[in-house]
């Protein structure tokens, strides 16, 4: 049973459209991340958050924006989609409370195709 949910699972959209990829987690984790991954390739960090009202850009330059108004919700928005945005977007969360420092829990991803 997934504790971090991403919707939609697949999305095909036209160039210039605005889209929001949803990510929600039920674990109460304070840290959340967005990674971009092309098929068979490595993961690149595009955004991260350490808690409510905290957001930072990652190593990979991205034209997307994120928000963190609630602990459990970390949506990613593309104001104007382009074919170069075609990729898989993975949301993850982690925590250092409780029993210690554990790894990331990833969502199932959103596979985005911009035509």
């Amino acid at each position: 049973e997934a504790d971090i949910y991403q919707t939609p699972r697949y999305l095909v959209i036209g160039t210039g459209k605005k889209i929001t990829l949803e990510c929600s987690q039920t674990m109460g984790h304070d840290k959340m991340y967005w990674y971009q991954q092309d098929p068979g390739m490595e993961l690149h960090l595009i955004h991260y958050s350490y808690g409510v009202n905290s957001t930072e850009k990652g190593d990979l330059s991205s034209e997307s924006t994120v928000s963190r108004i609630r602990t459990e919700h970390f949506p990613l928005t593309l104001e104007s989609a382009r074919p170069s945005h075609t990729s898989q977007y993975l949301c993850a969360s982690s925590d250092t409370l409780g029993e210690g420092y554990y790894g990331y829990t990833f969502g199932s991803g959103t596979r985005l195709t911009v035509v």
Binding site: L43, G58, Y102, Y104
Partner: protein, 111 residues
């Protein structure tokens, strides 16, 4: 700085062992290991912290050489279910929590 993984790919027969290496040019605070099966999300396997603390979910062992900034993942008596791409993720500073991932090692276990 992206960590370097080796080998890029390996094919094993069931029951054989494998070692996957991950090295960084920067000082490391922690190293994470994940396995990703085709079409699925990465799954956490192991975390190794500076100072030797190790936490993991599965019966897979790993080492962390802080001086050499290297980590190795040991897969013993491989099973078909071990097939997938293994990624190491490195955290450079204590409290940064951001991971930089290597390019991955594709492991195929055949009967």
């Amino acid at each position: 700085q992206q960590p370097v993984q080796s080998p890029q790919a390996v094919i094993l027969r069931e029951g054989e062992d494998a070692v996957i290496n991950c090295s960084s040019s920067k000082a490391l605070y922690s190293v994470h290991w994940y396995r990703q099966k085709h079409g699925e999300a990465p799954v956490f396997l192991m975390i190794l912290l500076k100072g030797g603390e190790q936490k993991g979910h599965e019966k897979i062992s790993a080492s962390f050489n802080e001086k050499k900034q290297q980590s190795s993942l040991y897969l013993t008596a491989s099973q078909l279910s071990y097939s997938g791409t293994y990624f190491c993720g490195t955290e450079n500073g204590a409290g940064s929590y951001q991971l930089t991932f290597g390019k991955g090692t594709k492991l195929s276990v055949i009967p």
